[in-house]
């Protein structure tokens, strides 16, 4: 397993996760996640050669419903729960153009 985590690693992960951590959180998570990865090293001793990864416990394939018209969620009800909506759509701040 990789070496201990650094604050730079944690900063990168926070950016990937869209979390804006405080300096105190950055410090705490660097310490705690490093500690956890040490515990998790117990599986390094296992010989897992030839073992198929298991992604789901009860594999079902090609789960399709009949191609018939059915009710969906009411648009106005859904939009009413949004922080901001306009003209039948979700309203958000600018996506591009504000960052240098």
């Amino acid at each position: 397993m990789p070496d201990r985590l650094t604050p730079a690693d944690i900063t990168k992960v926070a950016r990937l996760a869209r979390l804006e951590l405080t300096p105190a959180e950055l410090d705490e998570y660097t310490r705690q996640l490093s500690g956890m990865l040490e515990h998790f090293a117990d599986i390094d001793s296992l010989d897992l050669g030839g073992v198929e990864p298991m992604t789901q416990p009860f594999p079902l394939v090609n789960v399709l419903r009949d191609d018939v018209e059915a009710d969906t969620l009411d648009r106005d009800e859904v939009l009413a729960a949004a922080p901001a909506a306009q003209d039948g759509r979700f309203r958000v701040p600018p996506v591009v153009g504000t960052e240098p």
């Binding site: 990937l16 869209r18 515990h39 990864p53 009860f58 979700f90």
Partner: protein
Amino acid sequence: MTALELARQIRGGERRAIDVLEEHLARVAQHEAQIHAFNLVTADEARAAAHRVDEAIARGVDPGPLAGVPLALKDNLCTRGIPTTCSSRILEGWRPPYDATVVQRVLAAGAVPIGKTNLDEFAMGSSTENSAFGPTRNPRDLSRVPGGSSGGSAAAVAADFAPLSLGSDTGGSIRQPAALCGVVGVKPTYGVVSRWGLVAFASSLDQVGPFAADVADAALLLEVIAGHDSHDSTSIPQPAPALSAQLDRGVEGLRIGRITDLPAGAAPDVVARLDAAFAALEAAGARIVDVRVPAFTYGLTAYYLIAPAEASSNLARYDGVRYGLRVPAADTNAMYAATREAGFGAEVKRRIMLGTYALSAGYYDAYYGKALKVRRRIADDFARAYEQVDALLTPTSPTEAFPLGDKTADPYTMYLCDTYTIPSNLAGHPAMSVPFGTGAAGLPVGVQVLAPTLGEPVMFRVAAALERSMAGVGGAR
């Protein structure tokens, strides 16, 4: 009084649903301030539902097997028009536009939902201390935790706020609080109960299940909520299993496995109760067989890589766009980050960070990929054990209920609470906790019955036998 008996009386016209409801609401009014089982008590909606049940009976229509039975819902189950928070600031005030399938099914069976119960934020925790709205306390000892993450649902049944409740179990979140509160809690086989409308935490592990004061009530509620649902692509295309009919069959001739290489960590008083459970089953005619499940030990590591990885993906949806909290910012990226920083609590952020790391480029194979292989190994080891036995017995929780604040300083200490419950989620198997006496501090100890995929019938037979053996010594409820 049990749900079965209440429903019988209400269906038979001996009692009115509204009177039964008011009795339960009165208990809530008296004790809820100390316990905090609920994020929201929906008294008005409950009274309306109880009146509908009474009106149906007056018209000669049978409201169903849960007629007039008060029921509490974990606050990560969507309820149309009723706030569903997951005990998180990020969903505070959100009113879902639909009912979860399990909510539809309990309503169709005549149940009377009385409120939304507290949980560890997004079901991440083992003590209900991670709730953004304050912890729930154990009704058996208010200085102690009820377990988690479904601590509110377990406490609601233990305090008799409702005879039944629903929770969700991703790594033990029904069984561990059931053990700590002295009630029955069931995690069904993955796919037996629809997850539609259960707010997702780790989708390959999550499963909805019942809490009840006894095994028969748990069987009744599971029969109501189980069965195929076309809204959930992981739902097993089979009808609900018949469980109530199994309860009196006994365990004569069944082979019950004792895992000889079970990970250490259970307190001596818990081990003593497990030994007593084996003795009780043997006395009832079962054969106890020693088996090995070597990979059981590695469940904790596999789980705490897989579950956070799935959570980091599932919780990406909380971005301030479609529902819940939004912290305004100049552009979308800044809004996402500010919203998530303000809306998520410490444990949720910790797991999102851990999961994002385990999935990130360069580390995927070393962590997530490897954990998936360990998961396969665990399922294979269980399969070999089930060639020799019909069910397995382990402790549910390593200890009795612990004091509030006892395990909050070091997250890994809290994670160890799930040592015995996690492997069933990884394998997708059913497992349930049955109260089996008390430990050193006089608090409830649960014994866990494990069975293979779709082994609910045999699991309930064993659970019922354990409960009967306790009734003989005055230890059952």
